[in-house]
Amino acid sequence: MRKIRFILIKEFKQIFRNRAMLPLIIIMPIVQILVLSYAVDYEIKNLNLYVVDFDNSRLSRELQSKFTSSDYFRLSGFGQDLNEAEFALSSRESDLVLVIPSNFERQLIAEGTGDLQILIDAVDGSKAGLAAGYGGSIIRDYTGQITKEYALRYGANIGNQVRTVETLPQFRFNPLMDYKSYMVPGILVILVTMLGAFLSSMNIVREKELGTIEQINVTPIRKYEFILGKTIPFWIIGIFVFSLGLIEAKVAFNIPIAGSLWVLYSFTGVYLFLVLGFGLFISTITETQQQAMFISWFFLVIFILMGGLFTPIENMPPWAQTITLFNPIRYFIEVTRAVMLKGSGFGDLINNFMIISGYAVFTISLAVLRYRKTTG
């Protein structure tokens, strides 16, 4: 025990004497949570709209104002020339063009139907999809509204022809559809993963580079004592950084924490062992910090991109979904989202707990087995 205590003291002293370390531990959570949660926002507002109105009637003007009074669209141009509209689109001044034909109002009233055209810049596919969706729903709302209006004014004959079904979605667990509530639990996972994996993967290999491992290896220190000495300090730092991120999420963004902190922390504790085991394993198989850095980057990028934070796993092709089954980040992101947003308890997440624990045992064993005090 005395041995482990001294090794822990040694590691802590070294960590805090490293000038880069403290700023990293404090600043990384702040920057990641603050910047990433604001930057990664799938909601698109202020799309630039160009209107070509050949009709110039009351209804066409009303339709325009429906578009421009929403948060999603901003009028960037207006005219009666299709070529100018095309130019606005191709020069990226406008994101979409609404074309209202000359007999729009008359046809709508007389025949109950109307034609509209929307041209969308689809260079950015997801933006184009959202623009089409928003535009479509504004037009639907508006036609529904005028149908009712005319039915009231002219009796039931028009109302009989058109029946509309309205859908009113209710967003459970994130009622305001706030992207930050969705992103922050995932970013917390990325935060502890990156910090834990990098700190630990650089650690043993740093002792190799400096040659200090030579002096340690010739001592009777046991493998498990050495690995524990390397794990516990980073585990404590990991818990600290996670807490910092959690406090920030609560204070700065008022992200709900619907579930129990106890569940959240038990998962974090086990997950950190998984990450540290992974980092230490890389540290034992590499000879320089550069190699360790590249290898951990390689895995982390794949794990993060396929972890379900940026692209929902359900949207991935089946083969990619299969790959994510081997991705530990995926399981922990599921946990933080479920606990923080849905308030899931331990019982709901027992599966994830088994998988994360299994991985943790696996990576730590790999690191202990692979660490050799003798070469050759």
Partner: protein
Amino acid sequence: MIEVKNISKSYAGISAIKDITFTVEKGKLFGFIGPDGAGKTTLIRILTTLLLPDKGEARVGDLDVVDDFKKLRKSIGYMPGRFSLYEDLSVKENLSLFAAIFGTTIEKNYHLIEDIYKQIEPFRNRRAGALSGGMKQKLALSCAMIHAPEVIFLDEPTTGVDPVSRKEFWQMLRKLKDAGITILVSTPYMDEAALCDEVALIQDGDVLQIDSPQDIIESYGNMLFSIPGHVGFELIDRLRKADGVQNAYLFGEEIRMVFKETIEQDSVQHIVQSVGVPGELIRPVTPTVEDCFIQLMQKQE
């Protein structure tokens, strides 16, 4: 105390040490002398259980370096060639750490390291990385000694150290030896050989000779002359090819000539002058370990 039998080791097919056998008696200061790349570090790393030999056996005390490595690590001290303590920890912190790892305390074994450690004790709160080369060495030696080992292994402890610190360091080793500790030290400096009880001269993984420095010098067997001053490599080459000359080489600020058979000084002068080298200052000299090493290398070729 140390018994090495037919030890061989190669890296990726290139042999680093070949079939080395020697013994070191308890309480001796044994020197491993040879140029860079001779295999000194490989042998020390095998004896300190850090490297597995390909062939052969080695025992330190009663313990086999391969089978009993766990026990052995408790009873040996090792000072690697490169400074291997934590530069971001202070002098005192390094020493306490190693004491703790070996399950002891500084207080308990202070008497063993007192002579060495008290010289750096005024700087005990300074980071090891900020120490001078000589002080780093003293700290490294203190850390290698803190658990009262019976044998210590030092890999080129004086490489890159100034002459004064080198001398001091050897005095410390003599003191440790007088305290009954067996010491195996490697060095590329031939002049340090004379400070050992016994030396092994090694070259390219082979032991050329093992003996006390006095015996090595006595077994030289050739006449050796010295011409002060440097004359240029072309003339040395001509000296080497002259009649009766076995070898001629630059040795610091002088030229050394080895003759195959006993020869009078007059004849030597005659030979030297015949190749165009002024020979008035020529004089016979007793060989040093370095001369012996050069002779052994030549025989080997």
